[in-house]
C-alpha cells in the first residue's frame, strides 16, 4: 500500500515538473519569436500571405456564427424584456453583450479551432517532414521565416475578426427583433447608440481581442514547433492547441473583465 502511494505521489511530481518545464520552454520560445520578428516586419509580404490563411479564410465561420449568435441574443433578449415592457432596450442588450464579451470571446474560441489548429498542424507537419530542419540547414532560421509571420498574422487578424463577429451579431439581432418581430427601429438603434460607450465597451473589447490573439497564436505556434515529429504527435499537439487556447481565453477573459469593468455601470 505505501508503495502505491509513493508511486502516485511520484507520478504527480513528474507531471508537475514536466508541466513547469513545458511552461519554461513555451516562455523561452515566445521570447525567441518576438526577438526574431525583425524579418516579418522587414518583409511584411510574408505576414500578408499568412493573413490570408489565418484571417481571410476564418471569415466565413466568424460571419455565420456572429449572425446566429446575434439572432439568438435578440430572440432571448426580446422574450425576457417584453415581460417588463422594455423590448426597445433589446438593441442595447445585444450590442453590449457582443462588444464587451461574446464578440471577443466566441470569435477567439472559433479562431482557436479554425486557425489555431491549422497553424499547429502545419508547423508540426513541416517539422515531421524535416522541412524545418532543411530550412535550418539552408542557413534560414525557421522561427524567423515560418513561425514569426504566422504569429503576427494571428495577432493582427484576431481583433478584426472579433469586430466582424460583433457587427454581424448586431445585424443578426436587428434582423430578428426589428425585421421579424417588429420592435421599433428608431429606439433599437438610438438606445444602442446612447448605451454603448467607445472607451469602456468598444475599446475594452478591442483590447481583449488583442490579448486573445496573442495567446491563441502563441499557443498554436509553440504546440506546432514542440510537437513530436510523428502522426500521433501532431494530432495530439493540434488537440492541445484547441483545449489550452479555449481555457486560456476563458481564464484571461475573466481577469481582463475584472480589471476593465470594475465600477462601470
Amino acid at each position: 500500500m505505501p508503495k502505491r502511494i509513493v508511486a502516485s505521489i511520484q507520478h504527480i511530481g513528474h507531471r508537475v515538473i514536466e508541466s513547469i518545464w513545458r511552461l519554461g520552454r513555451a516562455t523561452r520560445f515566445f521570447i525567441l519569436v518576438l526577438l526574431k520578428s525583425g524579418t516579418s516586419l522587414r518583409r511584411f509580404g510574408l505576414v500578408i500571405r499568412e493573413l490570408y490563411f489565418t484571417g481571410v479564410l476564418s471569415l466565413i465561420i466568424i460571419v455565420v456564427s456572429g449572425l446566429f449568435v446575434g439572432m439568438v441574443l435578440g430572440l432571448q433578449g426580446y422574450e425576457t424584456l417584453q415581460k417588463y415592457g422594455s423590448e426597445s432596450a433589446v438593441g442595447t442588450l445585444v450590442a453590449l453583450s457582443l462588444v464587451r464579451e461574446l464578440g471577443p470571446v466566441v470569435a477567439a474560441l472559433l479562431f482557436a479551432s479554425r486557425a489555431g489548429s491549422a497553424i499547429t498542424a502545419e508547423i508540426g507537419l513541416m517539422k515531421a517532414t524535416e522541412q524545418l530542419a532543411a530550412m535550418g540547414l539552408m542557413a534560414v532560421d525557421p522561427i524567423a521565416r515560418v513561425v514569426a509571420p504566422r504569429f503576427w498574422s494571428g495577432v493582427i487578424s484576431m481583433p478584426f475578426l472579433a469586430a466582424m463577429f460583433s457587427v454581424m451579431g448586431v445585424f443578426g439581432g436587428y434582423l430578428v427583433t426589428v425585421v421579424f418581430i417588429g420592435v421599433d427601429e428608431g429606439s433599437f438603434w438610438s438606445q444602442m447608440q446612447s448605451a454603448v460607450d467607445f472607451r469602456f465597451d468598444i475599446l475594452n473589447g478591442f483590447i481583449k481581442s488583442c490579448f486573445f490573439g496573442v495567446a491563441v497564436t502563441a499557443i498554436a505556434v509553440f504546440e506546432g514547433y514542440d510537437a513530436p515529429p510523428t502522426a500521433e504527435g501532431v494530432s495530439g499537439a493540434t488537440t492541445r492547441t484547441v483545449v489550452t487556447s479555449s481555457l486560456v481565453i476563458l481564464g484571461l477573459d475573466f481577469i481582463l473583465t475584472a480589471f476593465m469593468f470594475r465600477g462601470v455601470s
Binding site: T129, E130, L137
Partner: protein, 270 residues
C-alpha cells in the same frame, strides 16, 4: 590539414543522454570525391551528418569543415558556413506550400539580392541539370518520390555549395529512379567539383558511384576502403554487409536467454 581535405573528423564522439552513438570516429574527406557512409540502422550515420552540419554538438573530438572547427562557431558563423553545404533529406523535405520553382529559388531569394529575372534563369538551369525544367510549375504533392528527390537535389545545389550530404537518397525508389539519382550524384560531383557524402544502406548502387567507403558499426569506423577493396574484403562485418548475409557479426537473433529455457523444455529433456 592537407589542402585537398574538405572535412576532417578527429576522435568524434556523440551521446544521446547517456547512450553513446559515436565513440571516437576519425575520418578525412577530400574535395571532389563521393564518399559513402554505410552501416546498420541506428549505427550513427545520420548523426555524423548532423555533426558535420553543426546541428548537434559533439560530446568529444571535433569536425573541421574547410579548416574551421564546426562546433566552435557562433550562430552567425555557422549559418555562413552552412551556405557552403547542401543537404538532401531522405524524402526530399521540399516545402509543401511552395512550387518546384519556388523551392529551388528559396535560398537565392533568402540569401542574395539577385534580380528576379536572373533567379528565374538560374532556377531553370538547376532544374535542367536534374532533368525537371519542364516540371517547374508543379507543386510537391504532384511529384513522384524520385522526382521530389531530384527537385530537392536541384534545391541543394542552388547556391553552388562545396559539399552535398545525402541522407539515404535511394530509399523507396524504383530501379530507374534509383539509377537516375545515383548517376546525378556522380555527375554533379564531377561537373561542379563538389564533395558528396552519401549515407546509405544500398550497397550495390552506391559502390557503383562512390570513390571511398566508411563502414560504421558500434559507434566506430569498422572498415574503410575503395569500392574494390570493400568488395574483395574478407573482414567478417564488411563481407556480411556487402553480401547481405543473414547472420554474422551482426546477429540474426536479438540477444535472449536460451531457447529451450524460454519454451520451458529444459526439464522435459533433462
Amino acid at each position: 590539414m592537407p589542402p585537398d581535405t574538405l572535412i576532417e573528423a578527429k576522435s568524434l564522439g556523440f551521446s544521446y543522454d547517456t547512450r553513446p552513438i559515436l565513440k571516437g570516429v576519425d575520418m578525412t574527406m577530400s574535395r571532389g570525391k563521393v564518399i559513402a557512409i554505410m552501416g546498420g540502422s541506428g549505427s550513427g550515420k545520420t548523426t555524423l551528418l548532423r555533426l558535420i552540419s553543426g546541428e548537434i554538438q559533439p560530446t568529444s573530438g571535433y569536425v573541421k569543415f574547410a579548416g574551421e572547427v564546426v562546433h566552435e562557431l557562433n550562430r552567425d558563423a555557422l549559418f555562413k558556413l552552412r551556405r557552403k553545404m547542401g543537404m538532401l533529406f531522405q524524402f526530399g523535405a521540399l516545402f509543401t506550400d511552395l512550387s518546384v520553382f519556388d523551392n529551388v529559388a528559396f535560398q537565392m531569394r533568402e540569401h542574395t539580392n539577385l534580380p528576379e529575372s536572373m533567379i528565374r534563369d538560374l532556377v531553370l538551369m538547376k532544374l535542367h541539370a536534374v532533368g525537371l525544367r519542364g516540371a517547374h510549375h508543379l507543386m510537391p504533392n504532384q511529384l513522384s518520390g524520385g522526382m521530389a528527390r531530384r527537385v530537392a537535389l536541384a534545391r541543394s545545389i542552388a547556391l553552388d555549395p562545396m559539399l552535398i550530404m545525402y541522407d539515404e537518397p535511394f530509399t523507396g525508389l524504383d530501379p530507374i529512379s534509383l539509377s537516375v539519382i545515383g548517376n546525378l550524384i556522380r555527375r554533379l560531383t564531377d561537373t561542379l567539383g563538389i564533395t558528396s557524402i552519401v549515407v546509405t544502406h544500398d550497397v550495390q548502387e552506391s559502390l557503383k558511384i562512390v570513390d571511398y567507403v566508411y563502414f560504421i558499426a558500434d559507434g566506430v569506423i569498422a572498415a574503410q576502403g575503395t569500392p574494390k577493396e570493400v568488395r574483395d574484403s574478407v573482414a567478417p562485418f564488411v563481407h556480411q554487409f556487402v553480401h547481405g548475409e543473414e547472420d554474422g557479426p551482426v546477429p540474426f537473433h536479438y540477444p535472449a536467454q536460451a531457447y529451450k529455457k524460454d519454451l520451458n523444455l529444459e526439464d522435459t529433456f533433462a
